[in-house]
Amino acid sequence: MDLRLPSKVLEHIFSFVDSNEDRNSVSLVCKSWFETERLTRKRVFVRNCYAVTPAAVARRFPEMRSLTLKGKPHFADYNLVPDGWGGYAWPWIEAMAEKSPALEELRLKRMVVTDECLEKIAASFKEFKALVLTSCEGFSTDGLAAIAVACRNLRELELRECIVEDLGGDWLSYFPETLTSLVSLDFSCLDSEVKLSDLELLVSRSPNLKSLKLNRDVSLDALGSLLRLAPQLVELGTGSFSDKLDQEAVSKLSQAFTELKELKSLSGLWDVLPEYIPLLYSVCPGLTSLNLSYATVQMPDLVELLSRCSNLQKLWVMDLIEDKGLEAVASSCKELRELRVFPSGADVDETNVALTEQGLVSVSEACPNLESVLYFCAQFTNEALVTIARNRPNLKCVRLCVMEPFAPDHKTQQPLDEGFKAIVEGCKGLQRLSVSGLLTDKAFEYIGTHGKKLRMLSIAFAGDSDLMLHHLLSGCESLNKLEIRDCPFGDTALLENAAKLETMRSLWMSSCGVSFGACKLLSQKMPKLNVEVIDEHPLKTRPDSSPVEKIYIYRTLAGPRLDMPEFVWTIHKNPEIGVSNLAIE
C-alpha cells in the first residue's frame, strides 16, 4: 500500500507550517517531503551569508519571495571586526536578480550594501515590496532615491541604525505621486534634513501608513503636522523633541497626540525637554513598546511617564532611570516582557551610580512576564542574581554588562560564579546569556552543566583556563553562537571539542590564547568549517605557536570565501597550500 500523501495534499499541509525551524525539520523527513517543502517555502532565512552560496539558495527555493540575510559577526557592532572584513550584499542581489526576479522582500543585517546594490534591486525586482536594512553601511541617499523612484509597490523602507552617506534630503521627493502603498518608513538614522513638504505629501497619500520613524532633524513643529496627517499610526519614532514652542503650538501638538488612538510603539524622543513629557501622557496607556534610550530624561520625569504606561511590554531606557525609576516601573508596568537599560555615559566612570543591581531585582520581583533583560550597570552582586533567578525562572534572555571588567561582587568581593549559576540553574528555558564581572572557570562549569537550552553566549574578560571553553563546548547542547573576547585559554579545549563546532553556527574568539598551529589543525580536521584568522598586525613568519588576534569559525557548505581582504586568512584544508589569503579552487 502506498502510504505517501499526494504532493498537493502535502503542499496544503505545509502551507500551515510557518516557522522556518519547523520547515527545516519537515524537509529532513524524506525526499518527497524535502521536495514539496522546498517548492513551497516563501520566506528564506540565511543567518550567515557565507554558510551557503546565493546560487544554492535560489536553486533550492524557486518560490522564494522574502530573503533575510545576516553578514558580519555580532561583535562587529562593537568595532571588533575591522572594516572591509566582508558581508557584501552584492553577490546575493546579483544572483537573485537573475534567478529569483519575483523576490519581494529583502532584510539584511550587518551587511555592506552599496548604491549599486540598491540600484540593482530597483531595476530587477518588479514586485519589490520591502527593504529592511539593520546595521548596514556602504550606501548613500542616492541609493535610496533609486529605490524610491522605481519600486512602485513599495510597502516597507526601514533603515535601522545604518550608516548612510548623506548626500542631501531630496531622496524623499523621488517617491512618485502614484505611490500610495507605504506601510512603514524608517529613516531615523539619517543625519541630514529631509524636506518637510516632501514628507508631508508622502504621508498624506499613504493611508496604510502604520509605522513612521523620523530622524533627529525633524522638528517638533513638523511632527505636529505629520501626526495630523497620519492619526492611524501604530508606531511612531519622533524627531528631536526640544524646540521651544509657543503655547498655541504646544496645545496643537498635544491635541495631535490625543488623536493617535492606535499608537502602540513610541521611540525617538531625542533631546526631549522635561516640559514636553506631558505631551506624551495621552498615548501612554496604549503603549506596548517604549524606547527612551536616546532621551536624556531624569528619573522624576521618567517616573511620571512610566507610571502611566500600564500596558507596556517592552521598555528601553538609559540608566538615568535609576533604581527608584525601576521601582516605579515594577509597580506600574505589570505586562513588561523586555527591559533594556543602557549606559548614559560613554565610559565606565561616567556610569550613573544611582542605578544598581537593586533596580533589576525590583523589576524581576514584580513583573511576572519578564523574559528578556539587557542591563548595563557599574557593579553587581551574587545575591541579586540569585534573587532574580528565583523571582523569574521564565527568563529567556539575560545580558548583564557589568561595566568594569573583572569587577567582583561588590559586597563580598567574590567572583560572580554563584550568581550566574543561579541564573542558568533556575532559568531552565534560558536561550541567550551574556556574562560579565569577575568569573572563574567554575562559572563556566555551571553554565555547561545547566545551560542546556542556551543558544547564544557572549563572554568577555572571564575565566582562568582552557577548562572554561571545554565546559561550554562539551556541556551546552543547544549552543549555536559563541562569542568570546579577552579570555585566557587556548588550543586544547578548541581541538578537543572540534566536532561541536560543526553543530554551531559560529564561534568568535578575539584576544584569547589560540595559536596559529591550532587553527591549522582545526581547519584540516573539520572539512565543513571555515576557520578565518583576522590579523591586522601579522608577523612576517608565522610560527605555529604564535597567537592569533581574532578567529571566526563558522560552518559552511560554500567552502572558503573568495572576497577576503588582506588581513583575513583562511586555513586551507589542503596542508600543502597551508594558509592563504585568497581561497584557491
Binding site: E350, A378, T440
Partner: protein
Amino acid sequence: MENVGVCDEFVNLKATELRLGLPGTEDEKQKVSCGKSNKRALPETEKDIESTGKTETASPPKAQIVGWPPVRSYRKNSIQTKKNEAEGQGMYVKVSMDGAPYLRKIDLTMYKQYPELMKSLENMFKFSVGEYFEREGYKGSDFVPTYEDKDGDWMLVGDVPWEMFVSSCKRLRIMKGSEAKGLGCGV
C-alpha cells in the same frame, strides 16, 4: 583550590584598590597576573597610558578598551552628540572625593549659592567641610572642596561669585588630608 585562593586575595586587593580609569592603567607590578601563566595582560588600548594609577592627582588619561563597554557605535555617537549639545543645559559636573570608590555627578544649576552646594556635597559623601574664610580658606576640617576651572587650574570653592563659579567649574574634587594643605586650608 589553592591557586584560586591566591587569586582571590589578589583580586580583593585589586577590587578595593583606589584608582581611576579602567584596568590597563595598572603599573607593571600588577600586570603580573595571579599565577595563571596563560592569563594575558589586559587588551589593547586605544591610547598610550602613562599613568601610575594613583588617585591623588587629577584623573589620568582614560584607558579605552576597544569595543568596551559593548555599546553600538551608533548609540555611542548619539550620546557623544548629546553631551556636546548639552553643555548649555543643566550643568552636570563630576564630583570626586579622595578615598571614595566612585564619583558622583551633580547639576550645579540646582543650587543658588555656595551653602546649598556644600550641604548637598556633605550629604552625598557624608563628611563636613568646615568653615570658609576669605583669606584662610576652609578651617576645622580635613576636607577641602576644590574645583577645576576652564583653564585647567585647581581652585578653592568659594573664592569667586557663585555665577562665575557655575560658569567656569568643570569638575569638583573634595581633597583630603595633607594634599589639601597646599591650597590654603590654614589648619
